[in-house]
Symmetry: C2
Subunit: 378 residues, 2 copies
């Protein structure tokens, strides 16, 4: 008997309604019954992505959609600007390099957000850069980037703006059409409250046009083929049927809440998390904290890896540690997807209990007190 | 109120035990809890694939694993022999072409199986062909190929034998290690009784060695990266967690039945299906019928597409029609995965009812009678 609490930036908890929907007998995908579901999913995704653009759904992790955004836009030897502020900015650069695309990096220290001037300068110096790759939320440092300002710059150019909103979608606002984002990439296991296994690309007319000249090889991730099938509410290859069925239910829940309230809820949970950890004397890692996940510096003298391990194995609460160079230096607690105030209370309470066990000095309950104050209403 | 019966060669019906396993709260994938599940899944897959080789699990459709078997083995300009006897042999050729690999086709009429002499001759004429691509079961025509004989030929050469066992695995025997098959590709939604969304590659030492010189670009489907992670019971990218958890349960069920009995069951169901449709005066499409799916010629004067549609929309029984040029000319009924004798009885009964409605002349019950005779024992 041990209740489990999942507080990681993906996978995130799945609503029981969604789990039960996926537990129904499976359908064949080339039937009117499935087509009707897929059609509703496509409409629901447009609502969440805030776009009227086509949205392609792939059976893959988010990384597959990141790769699709590169192999369909670019050709060998092309230049692409990549904003690298952590593991997932770096991933765009790695994929580009794997395909012989020249990366023009904009490197920013982890936990920082890129500023408009450097983006503008880099674009001005590299007018031939076919695309600019950037994250909405750099999950590795819990940082949100100002996509609106970056889109202001790119939309006056021929450069295609590609935003990885895998962990940000639903938590950090991204107004695809209003801001003029050409490709928005996302995945199922974050704000969409689903298991991993689906990835998405919302694709503008400017992006479709740019794809016409791309010569990088592709097959499974060929978006033109996907678009042709999508026009007939179909997919070129067998879709992940049960996940698409679950997604319909998750999207219905989001629509019922409304996108506006979903963003407000995430902001409120994020604000409360930040203020609560600060009340414990801890410091936020990011200077531009995301509403999806809060990264916190491990205080001096405390073993950060042990904190994460104890919370998971002794107390049943799974939060995330730092990755790569940030291992042991930060911990990350998500307030993403199917989350409400008592999830934040649980997370802060768990952090307090875990820190106390490791000898960190503070008054027990002082974080939860702040969270309660901030979350009591609504 | 309408009970639904799924009789297609993928997705196939999912056991309720597996559906309920996937309906449990989700886990994070970088935890000892998930690692233990993934380890058990890897062992279970080796049992079904009849191999001690590494098995890489991808979050994608089967086509993703087909692509992985090409982009990891070959380089631009390489030659590959592809046996084309239908839609899925053709798919290997399409992927090769997309990546600039020269295809040496062995074309066989749909519904036939490739014979050893032509494979031997083609290999002898093309000793530099790096790989030979072939299906175990060509799902589009319901044909099983003699992989054992083909492996006899390839294993004396440096050519790597890649077998697509996506629809065949579990139904048509494939003895990976005994026969010397270098790469076996499969997917989750067929004999493994799972939803679509997972793909697999069982990879021999000969294949790993051949991969060392491959220069085709890849990232998401990079098998060397997957192998490095697999050695630590991990994956390079977020796995399709809920599907892997379901697969553990499905593999446990297979192990409990034993592989031997699973193959015998599929053979018995396939034999009964074939004899029953013949008793209705119908003709099998394939000269080398698979134990996964039976393709049947639509009799003269009967609208094959209408038959499939009526069975699905009026009677709740989903079988598959023909694809591409075979549309309307054949129908295909699967006896694959979570299937036993009364599923075949239901399928034959549905075909009888559907054919009678469309005016086909035969004695009602004459197919089911044969099926009962053949299936009564065991």
């Amino acid at each position: 008997m041990r209740k489990k609490y999942l507080m990681t930036p993906g996978p995130t908890p799945i609503p029981p309604e969604v789990l039960l929907e996926m537990a129904k007998p499976i359908l064949h995908h080339r039937t009117p019954q499935y087509q009707a579901i897929f059609k509703e999913v496509n409409e629901g995704l447009k609502y969440v992505f805030q776009t009227s653009n086509d949205i392609v759904t792939l059976a893959s992790s988010g990384t597959g959609a990141m790769e699709a955004s590169i192999v369909n836009l670019l050709s060998k030897g092309d230049k692409a600007i990549v904003i690298r502020g952590g593991k997932f900015g770096e991933r765009f650069a790695e994929i580009c390099s794997a395909y012989g695309v020249e990366v023009i990096p904009i490197d920013i220290p982890e936990g920082n957000a890129p500023q408009a001037p450097i983006v503008r300068d880099t674009l001005a110096k590299n007018p031939k850069a076919k695309a600019l790759y950037v994250n909405l939320c750099e999950t590795s440092s819990g940082s949100v980037y100002d996509i609106k300002s970056i889109a202001e710059i790119t939309k006056k150019t021929s450069t295609v703006l590609v935003v990885d909103a895998i962990s940000g979608l639903g938590a950090d606002d991204i107004q695809t059409d209003n801001w003029g984002v050409d490709i928005v990439v996302s995945g199922s296991q974050k704000g969409l409250m689903m298991p991993p296994g689906l990835a998405f690309l919302a694709i503008s007319q400017k992006a479709w046009k740019a794809m016409e000249s791309s010569t990088l090889p592709k097959y499974y991730f060929d978006l033109k083929k996907a678009k042709k099938a999508l026009d007939k509410t179909d997919t070129p290859f067998t879709p992940a049927v049960s996940l698409v069925i679950g997604l319909r239910e998750a999207l219905r829940m989001i629509k019922e809440e409304t996108a506006e309230k979903m963003f407000a809820r995430h902001k409120k949970l994020a604000d409360a998390t930040r203020e609560s950890v600060k009340a414990l004397g801890l410091e936020l890692f990011s200077k531009s904290p995301s509403n999806a996940v809060t990264a916190v510096k491990v205080p001096a003298g405390i073993d950060g890896e042990k904190l994460v391990k104890n919370l998971r194995d002794v107390h049943g609460v799974t939060i995330a540690g730092g990755q790569d160079e940030l291992k042991g230096k930060i911990f990350r607690v998500a307030h993403l997807g199917f989350m409400e105030k008592f999830d934040v209370i649980t997370a802060i309470s768990a952090i307090e209990i875990g820190l106390k066990e490791l000898g960190y000095k503070f008054e027990l309950g002082s974080g939860v007190k702040v969270a309660e104050k901030m979350l009591a209403e609504g």
